[in-house]
């Protein structure tokens, strides 16, 4: 059996005295996709930030590919898609992608290729400022997938997207998953997430109350997870 891509071991995080995460442990392997569920304020974003190395755990360890998340080698293999799109409004689409290509040490040709895959090639030289929300989101996806990351960390990726943008994102994620990439995403839009997920985790007031494979019941009835495993 392969070594885990992502291992979270007894992670705690405090904001002051408030425990935002308490003893969270799980691990994921290549090709797995985790849907991280939880009510508002449960700690999903906090956990994802720790995984991406944007925030440090107070106790416990996170290992990405066996390394700490603050290790450059580990970060080179992460793709991050948060609330914000993470590109610069005043620059053009291709300039944005080129910048990130350089930071990741990827060739410029790859940037162009991703513009085509996200159907943005015809507006490559327009500043992002002029893009509509759907186009911005597609560019953000191109930015996150550019360096062929082995681990995708997505925080509420479907929020405020229309049906078509969601479908595009789902297709890309399904492809990535099929190619053996690991995906972890938080979301409140259970239906959209369940189709993709191979695993489901439920976090409640900072505690991981459930972690396991996605079962057919979950697909049929998204509320199932909350009702079955949630204490509150």
């Amino acid at each position: 059996m392969s070594a885990p891509v992502l291992a979270v071991e007894h992670v705690y995080k405090y904001f002051g005295d408030y425990p935002a995460l308490r003893d969270v442990s799980f691990s994921l392997r290549g090709g797995e996709c985790l849907a991280l569920l939880g009510r508002n304020g449960a700690g999903k974003t906090t956990l994802l930030k720790i995984l991406a190395g944007l925030s440090g755990a107070a106790q416990g360890h996170v290992k990405l590919f066996g390394d700490s998340p603050r290790h450059a080698a580990a970060r080179r293999r992460i793709g991050l898609l948060g609330h914000g799109i993470g590109v610069y409004d005043e620059l053009t689409a291709i300039e944005n992608l080129t910048i990130f290509a350089q930071l990741y040490g990827v060739s410029k040709a790859v940037a162009r290729e991703w513009l085509e895959r996200t159907q943005l090639a015809h507006v490559a030289d327009s500043p992002v400022r002029e893009f509509s929300r759907g186009m911005r989101q597609r560019l953000a996806v191109a930015r996150a997938f550019l360096h062929d990351p082995s681990l995708l960390i997505l925080d509420e990726p479907f929020t405020a997207l229309d049906d078509r943008a969601i479908a595009l994102l789902q297709t890309l994620l399904a492809e990535a998953k099929a190619a053996g990439r690991t995906i972890i995403m938080s979301t409140h839009q259970l239906r959209e997430a369940m189709e993709l997920a191979s695993h489901v985790a439920l976090i409640e007031r900072g505690k991981l109350v459930h972690f396991g494979p996605r079962t057919p019941e979950m697909l049929m009835d998204p509320g199932y997870v909350y009702r079955t495993f949630g204490a509150v």
């Binding site: 904001f15 002051g16 005295d17 408030y18």
Partner: protein, 228 residues
Amino acid sequence: MEKNIRIGIGALAGLLLLRNLYVILFNLPDEMDQGPIYRIFFYHLPAYFTAMCCYLAALAASVLYLTKRDLRYDAVAMAATEVGLAFAAVNLITGMIWGRVIWGIWWAWDARLTWALICWLVYFGYLMLRQAIDDPSERAKNSAVLSIFSFVSVAITYKAIEWWRTQHPGPVLSFRTGKQLIDPGMERMLYANFLALLLLAIVMVTVRLHQETLQRQIDGLRRRAHAL
């Protein structure tokens, strides 16, 4: 127990201050040139040294916080800085009063005075930064970094006397000059009052720490109330 120790040190500081005040007022003779006002010196300089000790403690606590990430060190840094600012203010204000009497003006823009003011502003900025950040961990971390940067200005203030020529009197204490410039009785008195003020500072820091602990408990309870 903790409370008793606090009261004990406080009482000791109080007694020492009273005794020193008595000696300063009644036993020590007037200075030749300045007359009675020079007695303010016994608060002017020790207050400054006490402030320096507080800033040094804040620096140590900040470094410890960054290595250990324990919020208690952060509380120490905060309390020490606040008390240090108070004593630095005593130094500034006594100096200004003294200046008003001796020079006829409240303030002169010379290096020593200016640096004392800069130092005060720098640490006041530290407290401002603390107020502006809500999340305690973030606040502790960022203000610890700022405290480290701030200490550079303390070092410069200490050195200012050697780097710039000033209107303000030069060093008098024998450990800095290597000579005996003032009367040994006066110098002893200085150290005695320094000890008293230092004890007072320690009590004040512990009181602030205690308040801080209570505040954290209150905040914790409120957070729990929110979760209901």
